[in-house]
């Protein structure tokens, strides 16, 4: 573990698309056991930043350090291999497959040439109960029968099970009811307890206040505020998002 428990550090990251500057000189430390919310209006640069740290885009300038080592993330798959798990809005689950088969997709457990489904099911069950998803009736059922919150739980549980170091959640609650959102927050907090560095991208500022330990505001491609959650009001956050004022 590197100093201050920093899992990922970006140093003066910029991204240009032709003449458009999408991101300029963003330096940020993301620490384990901390939930960092990236906030900002559409086009402020937070999605570009997330795409860079999840390996989808490569920065035009600047460096990325993962657990103290300088890294170049050439693809999303490479970021995953390092331990950076991104949960997209579409969740990356296969509806027609069982929970356990989804959970272990691409990392199947085999016993000789055959799948060890019994062990996959028991491991899935153990990980899901560890993050607090307890009322799934049957671990062998198809993912399509689950609610949006339960599906988020599977994606988050998957990051925990495979010892990921960082979890990036893109709008994890945008399609959920209030009650389900609360449940998903519980799962995210459970992942935080496990020491993962967590990045959430959310539009809903009330929800951001409820879940984040730290706010990072993007405004016109720059980082304009980076501060801990000291109970700032929704109005203050909203002003920072709209006008780039410090928090």
């Amino acid at each position: 573990m590197s100093e201050d428990n920093v899992v990922l550090r970006t140093e003066k990251i910029s991204k240009r698309f032709g003449s458009l500057v999408a991101l300029e000189d963003v330096s940020l430390d993301l620490r384990g056991g901390e939930i960092t919310a990236l906030i900002g209006d559409n086009g402020a640069g937070k999605s570009t930043f997330v795409k860079i740290i999840s390996g989808v885009y490569r920065p035009s300038e600047g460096h990325i350090y993962f657990e103290g080592r300088k890294v170049v993330l050439r693809s999303a798959a490479e970021a995953r291999r390092l331990g950076i798990e991104t949960v997209h809005q579409d969740l990356g689950l296969v509806n027609s497959m069982s929970i356990a088969r989804n959970f272990f997709l691409g990392l199947e457990v085999s016993n000789g040439p055959f799948l060890d489904i019994r062990r996959m099911e028991s491991e899935t069950f153990r990980m899901l109960s560890e993050i607090g998803l307890v009322n799934i009736r049957n671990i062998g059922q198809d993912v399509s029968r689950l609610s949006g919150g339960e599906r988020q739980a599977i994606s988050i549980g998957r990051a925990l099970a495979f010892q990921k170091r960082m979890l990036i959640l893109d709008e994890p609650t945008s399609a959920l009811s209030v009650k389900e959102t609360e449940k998903v927050f519980e799962y995210i907090r459970a992942a935080k307890q496990k020491g993962l560095a967590i990045v959430v991208v959310m539009h809903n500022l009330a929800q951001v206040r409820a879940i984040a330990d730290r706010f990072v505001v993007f405004w016109h491609g720059k980082k304009t505020a980076d501060t801990y959650n000291k109970g700032q009001s929704e109005a203050e956050l909203s002003e920072a998002v709209l006008y780039g004022t410090p928090l």
Partner: protein, 353 residues
């Protein structure tokens, strides 16, 4: 708990903790690990439909349908379509199609027949036949993936291409093998009375591909690719490799069926197997494979083939015109898909067929 693994102990501990908090956990882990529950529901549905057909034909044929002899005929005549359908089902579950199986069947079978007729050893001819099947599958897979063409279109093209090449080589004449060949006997000759080796090969192929699909990591990838290709790719599944393998396996099963037909009839003709591309899709769909991919089973494809074969012999024994066969297959395909869709709605609240 002596002998229990670390995971088992922690699962027990987790269950105990949940139960203390009033959460019932007895049903949490199903251990229905042979098939996912929905697949079983589909198969039971289609098996019941098959049984109804069985009862109907038994009544209309005054019991003849029930005879061992009739079932020997069904098993023998279904074997070739059955083997083709097993490969086609695997491919469909992975989200692809192969319309070239009938042409592949005829082309690789004709080459094998020509080789034997020209005095090449049977084993070599068989290996060449299977290699041609695998090659056609590989071409289908590569063209589909490299040019991002829907496999339906690629294989429509290769269907016509290989039928044409076959006609150029053979001109539509029948090649008859007059001398006895051990290899041909073991492929399609008599095992006991009317019961031929073909049915054994069908069972064997279904078992191997069934295990591959339902009990290995590769099979998990196939279901994932058919169900949600993006998700499979994001999860690190080697999508291109798995799709090409599926095409190759499907090509091999089609050519194996061609070899078995040659063994059974001791003759081969370009047109043999020309109805199989659509019949194999029909058998797979009747057995519960979704046209959209991601859903189905090898057992389903086997049951689907048995149902089509039952129709064939049942009509004959009931004294109906065999011309009704195609019309009834059409009706059964539509009824089966409607049934699977309803089961899908009932089970998961969304359409999958």
């Amino acid at each position: 708990m002596p002998g229990a693994s670390k995971e088992e102990r922690s699962v027990k501990a987790a269950q105990k903790g949940l139960e203390q908090n009033g959460v019932p956990t007895r049903q949490l882990i199903s251990h229905n690990w042979l098939w996912p529950s929905l697949v079983r529901t589909r198969e039971i549905g289609i098996a019941v439909a098959g049984f109804l057909l069985f009862v109907l034909f038994t009544i209309f044929s005054h019991g003849q349908f029930l005879s061992l002899r009739n079932w020997t005929v069904i098993a023998t005549s279904a074997a070739e379509l059955g083997i083709v359908s097993v490969g086609v089902a695997l491919l469909m579950i992975g989200g692809d199609f192969d319309l070239s199986v009938g042409a592949n069947f005829g082309f690789s079978g004709v080459i094998m027949a020509l080789m034997i007729a020209h005095g090449y050893p049977g084993v070599l001819a068989l290996l060449a036949c299977l290699a041609i099947g695998a090659g056609i599958g590989l071409v289908n897979g590569l063209v589909t993936i490299v040019f991002s063409i829907p496999s339906f279109i690629t294989t429509l093209g290769t269907w016509l291409l290989f039928t044409g090449i076959n006609l150029i080589i053979q001109g539509g004449e029948t090649i008859s093998i007059l001398k006895y060949s051990n290899v041909l006997h073991i492929l399609g000759g008599s095992l006991y009375g009317d019961f031929t080796w073909g049915a054994v090969w069908w069972l064997f192929t279904a078992l191997i591909i069934g295990i591959l699909l339902h009990r290995t990591a590769f099979g998990n990838w196939v279901f994932a690719i058919g169900g949600n290709k993006m998700a499979a790719r994001e999860a690190g599944v080697p999508v291109t490799y798995a799709r090409i393998m599926n095409f190759v396996i499907c090509g091999i099963t089609a050519s194996l069926a061609g070899a078995i037909t040659l063994g059974n009839l001791q003759s081969m003709q370009v047109g043999y197997g020309s109805t199989y591309q659509l019949e194999s899709i029909a058998a797979s769909v009747v057995g519960g494979c979704a046209l959209t991919g991601g859903v189905g089973s090898i057992l389903g494809a086997v049951i689907g083939t048995v149902i089509l074969s039952m129709l064939d012999s049942g009509l004959l024994l009931s004294g109906a015109s065999p011309y009704w066969y195609e019309a009834l297959v059409g009706v059964i395909v539509i009824l089966a898909v409607a049934m699977h869709t309803k089961i899908g709605h009932f089970g998961r609240g969304r359409e999958e067929v």
